[in-house]
């Protein structure tokens, strides 16, 4: 299969990658760009581990064709901390004990970032709705809700 050129912005940097037309965004991010913070949990768009932000909106990179990202700006977990300074959500996940095995954490934090960007002061129910598509098997979610609300300053 002939490859096509994908030009987009990833974590603030312009990137050109030759991709198979049937490659998923997850494959390109993980395999071509070595952004392994993007996790593959279910491969069918259910568990949310592969969540990245496309132009600020959370998407499932495992079921998104890579070429659909053409011209967009993608944020992965690797691009969230700025100059070594953790994003408030990252800090809150650490401080509140919201991280256990950590496999769902990147997707969870990015989904939460999209929420806070549009709703800086979410209720617990808002957090639940925003994160309903991100599975965690370790925490029972309680400390994740606390962490998101702490990061928002609404705790």
């Amino acid at each position: 299969m002939n490859k096509q050129l994908l030009s987009f912005t990833v974590n603030g940097e312009k990137v050109d990658v030759a991709v198979r037309p049937n490659a998923t965004l997850l494959e390109v991010l993980r395999e071509d760009l070595a952004l392994t913070g993007v996790k593959e949990g279910c491969s069918e768009g259910v568990c949310g581990s592969c969540t990245v932000l496309m132009d600020g909106a959370p998407i499932r990179s495992c079921i998104t064709p890579a070429l659909e990202a053409s011209g967009s700006s993608i944020l992965t977990i690797e691009g969230l901390a700025e100059g070594g300074r953790l994003h408030p959500l990252q800090q809150a996940f650490i401080d509140k004990g919201a991280v256990q095995c950590g496999f769902c954490t990147p997707g969870m934090i990015l989904a939460a970032k999209a929420l806070l960007d549009s709703n800086p002061n979410p209720s617990a129910d808002d957090v639940k709705t925003a994160l309903a598509g991100n599975f965690c098997r370790c925490t029972g979610y309680r400390k994740i809700i606390q962490a998101v609300r702490t990061a928002a300053g609404s705790d």
Binding site: E44, F93, I94, R137, G140
Partner: protein
């Protein structure tokens, strides 16, 4: 030392591994990329039971980009089993396949597409055989035999008989016999299984995979690959959850190693989500018949239990899996006369292992029946539990002394905080409340000799590196080790590095199953740190002109008690020790004091585990009787974890336990089947709880300061998961006035039970009891 004198343990400090996990820096097995790495893929049996007549791999081998193809012929029929007497799983099938998913062949190729194409080119000729898919069919006369040396497909038979059950029943005031069934459940850890193997020209091999014991994996691989143990190096890697599902040895790691050896290149094999469900392990389906006799006050005077466990195609942890549900129960409840017959039966289904809420039908059956007995006697669920609950200083029926036990506190505190008795009196329609109680072992011997060992080395700036074999599956073991070392050494946690779970570098450890990591590995690190500290004190005593016994290590300094300002930096002491030719090297070891003669089948008596945790959970639910949907409103859970080394981490374990054991485990999680095929192996179909499903959770930490656990700590990960399942079960039953005996409580089952509700104190469904299996030869 009083607790409030601790500077690091007992505090909710952030986990040492959390930063790497929130930045995406933490590498899991599937994230590993090595130069020239190939992709591995496994060809699996499409049949539940078939003879392999021929395998032709020639076309696959000829495909451009394929570097290795392996089948059972390449393995000398190597078999895996946790015990010598349960070695029944060929690492690549040679003669037969025994479940849909059994490993038949494997390839390593330059990319995934090529590997998949190569699999399609492998021609396997099968002769289909009749198959069995449930315990009763499997043990029937004339049933197809899955393993030739196991007539009637009986894999494991456990018999425990304590006291005089028959005569005790004669004195009972009330006797009930009820039967409870639970279907298969699964782990669904968020990380799918993966293996990377890299064989080197010096004859050594490096292996990465999610595991619950790197040393156990290395031993099994060493045997199967016929490589010296010192040359099988299982490496540390971040692990995305286990819940019992990473404890065993799987063919995949052997196959990946074989592919790397054959191709002389690194190979990565990543399971699909479906493979993770089918070809690692899952929970047993189980039927349990419980006959209980009580006196007028509701004290259990006799209990007779028979369980059938559907074990799937191979033994896995069979003898343990068959015994543990009973053992949890005998730790929880006092009984002088009790009998248990547990049968694990082979079927043509995926292999079953240990799971965090192991034995749902057993645990929920015991507590459901206890509520039925309480209703018959007109006493409340709290009173009947308190009358039967284990107390410290007692010995279990099979002979384990219980040194520390906070079960009564757990029952009382959850009942009080949830106002259980008040809410039982003030009933609202379709709203229910229920309690479950349980106990879990804190480590039992499992084939790794010598417990856990640890080393501590010092750097010239006063920082230290802890070296321990303990593995972290996500629960926080790495942090636990560092937190303990920091407390003993008087160093900030940031000054302590950890090297762990690498079989080349770190000493052996039992593994993170049977809830032993804190008790075993934590104690080993504590002793190593104490050893290092006493060496530091020896050197510092000259520098400070004080007796070593009067010294304290805290905040990076060593000083005479009460005079912190006149202290000396630990770094300075370390450098002085080097100059004196007495470098600081701490070492420690810990092996739990258990009865080594105890054996699961031949001798189930003696000290099983040196400590036991205890827990109680109260669940409050609202049920829609028309749809069968359950809304969990509030869960109050308590566990005696001995001592909470890190309260936030302990709470996280409780909360995760409520999600997995109660919300998921009791309300929806089960596998569905069609002739040995799992119909719901994916995350789309198998419903684990989402954030929106979860109730309010009120975690209560109960501390009894175990005499042997590090700072009194026991385990924190499992007891709530068990008691939450029981509590949810009783709460749903309470809401509807129905005693449920088929789990999980899916909407369909609830609607059926409501529609067919019968009067009286009885279970929802009449289920054929599990009976003692007579194995007399014909």
């Amino acid at each position: 030392m009083p607790e409030d004198d601790y500077s690091v343990v007992g505090k909710s400090v952030p986990r040492v591994d959390a930063r790497a996990k929130v930045t995406g820096e933490a590498l899991f097995t599937a994230d590993i990329a090595l130069p020239r790495m190939l992709v591995g893929k496994i060809l699996r049996s499409p049949y539940p039971h078939a003879r392999i007549l021929n395998i032709d791999t020639s076309r696959a081998e000829a495909l451009h980009g394929v570097h290795a193809v392996v089948t059972g012929k390449d393995t000398a029929g190597e078999k895996w089993g946790v015990f010598r007497y349960t070695r029944d799983q060929q690492l690549l099938c040679v003669d037969k396949v025994r479940y849909v998913g059994d490993e038949v062949a494997a390839v390593a190729a330059v990319d995934e597409d090529t590997a998949i194409e190569a699999l399609s080119l492998i021609q396997v000729e099968y002769e289909e055989l009749p198959a069995v898919f449930d315990c009763r069919s499997a043990i029937a006369e004339g049933a197809p035999v899955i393993h030739d040396d196991r007539p009637r497909n009986l894999n494991v038979s456990v018999k425990i008989d304590v006291g005089d059950v028959e005569s005790a029943f004669k004195d009972a005031h009330i006797i009930r016999e009820d039967t409870f069934v639970a279907e298969e459940d699964s782990y669904f850890m968020t990380e799918p299984y993966a293996v990377v193997a890299d064989y080197h020209s010096d004859g050594s091999i490096e292996v990465w995979m999610p595991n619950a014991s790197p040393h156990t994996k290395a031993k099994a691989l060493s045997n199967a690959l016929r490589l010296p143990l010192s040359k099988v190096n299982v490496r540390k890697i971040t692990i995305g959850g286990a819940f019992g599902g990473r404890s065993d040895v799987f063919p995949a790691e052997f196959i990946t190693c074989l592919l790397s050896i054959r191709s002389s290149r690194p190979v990565k094999l990543v399971y699909t989500r479906e493979e993770n469900s089918i070809a690692t392990r899952m929970g047993h389906a189980m039927t349990t018949t419980i006959k209980t006799g009580v006196d007028r006050e509701g004290r259990v005077v006799a209990r007779d239990i028979v369980s059938y466990l559907d074990g799937g195609a191979y033994s896995s942890t069979g003898p343990i899996a068959t015994s543990v549900p009973f053992l949890c129960h005998e730790q929880t409840y006092k009984m002088e006369n009790v009998r248990f017959h547990g049968y694990r039966v082979y079927t043509n289904k995926p292999v079953r292992g240990m799971i965090r809420i192991h034995g749902r039908s057993f645990a929920c059956g015991i507590d459901t029946q206890l509520d039925m007995i309480a209703e018959e006697l007109g006493i409340d669920p709290v009173t009947i539990r308190l009358r039967n609950a284990r107390r410290p200083g007692e010995t279990t029926p099979t002979g384990s002394y219980v040194a520390s036990c906070g079960l009564v506190e757990c029952i009382e505190e959850t009942a009080e905080k949830s106002d259980l008795l008040g809410k039982l009196k003030d009933r609202k329609p379709n709203v229910g409340i229920g309690m479950g109680i349980n106990s879990v072992q804190t480590g039992f011997p499992l084939g790794i000799r010598g417990g856990s060992q640890a080393f501590i080395k010092f750097h010239e700036d006063g920082g230290a590196t802890v070296i321990s074999g303990v593995v972290d599956n996500g629960q926080g073991n790495d942090n636990m080790l560092v937190q303990i070392a920091a407390e003993v050494l008087g160093l900030p946690m940031a000054d302590i590095r950890l090297i762990s779970a690498d079989t080349e570098v770190t000493p052996t450890d039992a593994g993170s199953y049977s809830m032993i990591s804190t008790f075993g590995g934590g104690n080993a690190v504590k002793r190593a740190a104490e050893d290092a500290r006493s060496q530091l004190f020896e050197v510092a005593s000259d520098m400070l002109e004080a007796d070593p016994q009067d010294l304290v290590a805290r905040g990076g300094k060593i000083y005479v008690k009460g005079a912190p300002s006149a202290g000396v930096d630990i770094g300075k002491v370390v450098r002085k020790a080097l100059i004196m030719g007495r470098p600081i090297m701490g070492r420690g070891a810990f092996a739990p004091d258990v009865d080594q003669r105890r054996e699961w089948i031949t001798n189930p008596r003696g000290q099983l585990s040196q400590a036991f945790s205890f827990g109680a959970t109260v669940a409050e639910v609202e049920v829609d009787p028309e749809t069968g949907l359950v809304t969990a409103q509030r869960v109050t859970c308590a566990q005696d974890c001995g001592f909470a080394l890190n309260p936030v981490i302990v709470e996280g374990q409780f909360e995760g336990g409520v999600a997995m054991g109660g919300q998921g485990g009791m309300l929806g999680e089960e596998h569905r089947w069609h002739e040995g095929h799992v119909l719901n192996p994916s995350m789309m179909e198998y419903k684990i709880p989402t954030i929106k499903d979860m109730p309010e959770i009120d975690p209560i930490i109960v501390e009894t300061i175990d005499p042997v656990g590090p700072y009194g700590a026991k385990e924190a990960g499992m007891s709530v998961a068990m008691s939450a399942a029981q509590a949810y079960c009783n709460a749903v039953g309470n809401a509807l006035g129905i005693y449920f005996n088929h789990y999980p409580l899916t909407p369909a089952r609830i609607v059926d039970a409501v529609a067919n509700k019968k009067p009286g104190i009885r279970t929802a469904w009449d289920i054929e009891p599990a009976r003692i299996i007579e194995t007399a030869k014909k």
